[in-house]
Symmetry: C2
Subunit: 321 residues, 2 copies
């Protein structure tokens, strides 16, 4: 059994714990959190420790899943944990990945550290690269939603004065339809999707100021049409706790006069459950690659699908090829 | 530039030649055919030789694309060519792949031989394995069509007495809708799709006998509801030369009470163009893997997507992750 540790036990950590329980070849060994261990109710009766205690578990954990946020947690935690453990994270600040992977790779001298293994970046990245390599004369489009985005909601929650926040990403329908019809329009991020936010403020904070911080936030909001709605906690709890999401990667390509469409789409009741499931799948790859001495920071581009399955290669070939 | 050879220059070979021309890092070095070289008109002004002459081109070709049929050509040609060249084929008799890969692997001692690299087996196989590994508590369905199947048409054309044949695979709509709605029905191949064939006979052959050979053909037709229509050559040329195809892999999965849908779908004007494009993409992988000494028979499960792209890994990470 592959022994899994969780660093962080918010929504993503809970999703990852469920995925470990569903994996036939894994067991959850320990949970680490910044919160006081006694405050954490976990679903699996697994021992919970302060995140500072993790370093004494080097021999007890095969892969550590880093379930913190991309904005502040992971840039600090990923190199730290990768220096000791095989790790998987779902770092999702696309524009900063080149810088991020270098710091993780420098730390992962004798470990395997899979970065950005969620659904985007992650499965969607695989599709973008695969589709483009299949048909070079092509245009590829990524659409999100409608759905709740963990990373973007997290980014708002970290603003001083915010109690709760939910962000929904919504495709611009006219753009989506054009691509589905086989057209190859040039679309900016703003023309493809818009962002709608619902925010609960702590007493004494100013709506206009917080709105401005949100809509000008680089990487997350500045490049999109964003609306920010301020609501009270009761309304938030009633309408904004469902973390559904989805999206699609669409490629329209040509071989001479012939048109070809490729599409990958996801419709997810729970974004953190699904992202946790992907991280757990890549934990299996990290474990296998580390056994083979394939150390350093890895991406979804570097890992063949046979490393992701608990089945033997012969069985994959006979059953799924 | 990666130097590509084509063994076989039917529809698939022509599609592969177009894909080589579209690849920025490849050139077509030679075409080999069983037909007399002078009979072959090729689009690319590339020298054409008898397939028997191929062995004298070992130093001139980096990867040989095997563009013959699965029924009789590839089982004979793949081990022969893999003993001399890096190869890629799109062998598509699913039930015989375990036996096939062994004979190719035995031959590929100092070469890299990628087998079954089309869209199914191939891209669809990647999705089936990836989806199942992501959500273990799931059911995965493959639907084909409506579209023309090369392999199945080829199998009919090889029956004595058949001049021309076209086979269309058609999804059973009620089954497809149930899966799209998130249901997890148990479906036999027969319940998922049906097969419709249009056949032109040579003079003096018996329709009833040929129909019986088709509908009882193991692997290809015996497990499906198949209709065989006999038509004349004029009607065939008017209505049955378009080799469009498509299909989808659908997975309905659960993490506890939450439902998740994953879908991969293709809509293709030309099946051989698209299959040829996939083979060319895997030729790049075969070339890179051979350079690294990763010899033997490989499947799409064994090859990370970074081997499929002509772009450097750093650029994939910054642009597509």
């Amino acid at each position: 059994m592959i022994k899994i540790g969780l660093a962080g036990y918010g929504n993503l950590g809970i999703g990852a714990a469920k995925a470990v329980a569903a994996a036939p070849d894994m067991e959850l060994a320990a949970i680490f959190s910044r919160r006081a261990p006694d405050d954490i109710k976990n679903l699996s009766n697994v021992p919970t420790y302060s995140i500072k205690a993790a370093k004494s578990f080097i021999n007890d954990i095969d892969v550590m899943l880093l379930c913190g946020g991309s904005k502040t947690d992971l840039p600090e935690q990923a190199p730290y944990f990768a220096s000791m453990f095989n790790t998987v994270d779902s770092y999702d600040t696309h524009s900063k990945i080149p810088e991020y992977i270098k710091t993780v790779d420098d730390a992962a001298k004798k470990t395997t550290a899979v970065i950005s293994a969620g659904w985007d970046p992650g499965l969607f990245s695989i599709m973008r690269s695969l589709f483009k390599s299949t048909i070079p004369d092509s245009e590829t489009y990524t659409f999100y939603g409608k759905g709740y985005s963990q990373g973007h909601s997290d980014a708002i929650r970290r603003i001083e004065g915010v109690s709760f926040a939910a962000q929904y990403t919504i495709p611009v329908e006219s753009a989506l339809n054009a691509v589905k019809n086989g057209e190859k329009p040039k679309l900016t991020p703003r023309e493809k999707m818009r962002r709608e936010c619902f925010v609960v403020l702590k007493p004494g904070f100013d709506e206009a100021k917080i709105r401005n911080i949100v809509i000008t936030m680089p990487d997350y909001y500045a490049d999109y049409d964003t609306t920010v709605n301020f609501i009270d906690e009761a309304e938030f709890n009633k309408n904004h706790l469902k973390m559904f999401h989805g999206g699609m990667v669409l490629t329209n390509g040509n071989t001479g006069e012939n048109n070809h469409k490729m599409e990958f789409s996801l419709s997810l009741d729970s974004n953190p459950d699904f992202t946790g499931s992907i991280m757990v799948m890549y934990a299996r790859a990290a474990y296998k690659m580390a056994k083979e001495g394939l150390f350093g920071a890895k991406t979804v581009f570097d890992i063949p699908v046979c490393y992701l399955s608990h089945e033997e290669r012969d069985l994959l070939i006979s059953d799924l090829l």
